[in-house]
Symmetry: C2
Subunit: 300 residues, 2 copies
Amino acid sequence: MRAYSGEKLCSRCFSKSIEDKVRATIAKYEMFEPTDKIVVAVSGGKDSVTLLHILVKIEKAFPMASLSVVTVDEGIRGYRDEALKYAINNCRKLGVEHVVTSFKELYDYSLDEIVEITSEMEGKEEGLTPCAYCGVLRRRALNLAARKTGANKLATAHNLDDEAQTILLNIFHGDALRIARVKPVLSEAHPKFVRRVKPLCEVPEKEIALYAYLKRIEFQSVPCPYATTALRSDIRTMLNRMEEKHAGIKFALVKSIEKIRPALEVVAEEIKLQSCVKCGEPAVGEICKPCQMLQKFGVR
Amino acid sequence: MRAYSGEKLCSRCFSKSIEDKVRATIAKYEMFEPTDKIVVAVSGGKDSVTLLHILVKIEKAFPMASLSVVTVDEGIRGYRDEALKYAINNCRKLGVEHVVTSFKELYDYSLDEIVEITSEMEGKEEGLTPCAYCGVLRRRALNLAARKTGANKLATAHNLDDEAQTILLNIFHGDALRIARVKPVLSEAHPKFVRRVKPLCEVPEKEIALYAYLKRIEFQSVPCPYATTALRSDIRTMLNRMEEKHAGIKFALVKSIEKIRPALEVVAEEIKLQSCVKCGEPAVGEICKPCQMLQKFGVR
């Protein structure tokens, strides 16, 4: 049963409702055009594999569009190598072209190695977590891979819970202006930026899990060994607790922020994207964040 | 000990630190001028009685300023009548002029009576809680009383916790634009609006309680019988839990919102205040909210 709507659905109707929801989200935010070259970011986890299954289904109605998959191998022993298998197997089953890129190949170091180097740096200057490095470098890797495959859209599997958590995380972090960037379609005025879309952004995490279970979708279910961002996980717990008592609150939160986003974007837009003087990729300021990071731990 | 700063203070230094904090907040947000006529909204509860004690202390350095108190008697049997005694006693002790106004006198009905009338209304149309009526009518009562005493500033005892809760409440309620109005100084472009200031807005609720205890300040400690706004109290619990694990998070939250407020105000300012066609008081739209409410349950 869906607490926020009171609906009781059989498994077939439930699955259809999820697919319809994704279709509606895509239409509402004009995520795709009939001739798009779409690349889906698939880690091998529940959300991204499910997104792939749903998009393959939807894409069948659009013969002019194309769909492929990219997986970023960050280099996390005992974790990503496992997930990668699930990504490969799902792509094979669905008959989707699959490109794998890696931190090692792009940046000369795997995340494991980066974590080792940076944890040795005295005082852990700026105290960056593995997730901070990984987030910046993975987004860059996805953008590079998407461009390489000639895609004009990059679909990621962020769900409703992710979006609600990120909004609160930004607010609690004293970074409320970043809310402007938590949205269903992210486009930047830079020729090298591939437009990012989030077709699952209105589907609760729990429902994706149920859909995946009903459809017998196989995915990696072990959590990342570096996933220790205490604040996000506390926010997740807190939001789940609130949702249990106040059904629909995650959705209300995201919708509420949608109302103020236009105002925030006016301010956020003043931050013009340039081209990084080192690598030519999109950058806020002279040097892009990935280059700043790589430079800091002596890779570039 | 203060978890967010690691300070350990004796009771004397602690009390002084609170008073200094309030002075700093007043200076930072330019809350008062040396010639202000200030009226303090005192309910008789911990926060407002403490605010009064601190402001009386601070005001001694400003002989050109004046300070008086207003209490709004909403008419809540067994609750406000008790609190009123504390308000009266504290004002007497401190030698401060005290005006009492009431819902009954202003609106012909006490809150108890309003709750009775509205709960009888079939279907509880729009489902307004007692707090919703009380909030709107109390703010109007305070503004009227402040103007009547000739004050140009109205000081209320909202603390850091209140502000953090209200911000999240607005976001969760789908009302994020209202964040623009959660701020230390609220002024409106209407000649009948008395500027509202919140000198305690940077002091955590816990520290106000400790200050009141150390200074042996007497106040009403029973909670309001109508205080059942489930969502706010869940947000309070949740924020306290987060603060315990992540010291300073309430402050970070409020500061974070400060960064986006200018952007929100640009949008919020487009809502121009008019004069209510019924009572002439400040109104968004033709008829002000208090008049709409009174009309709805047949009082006006």
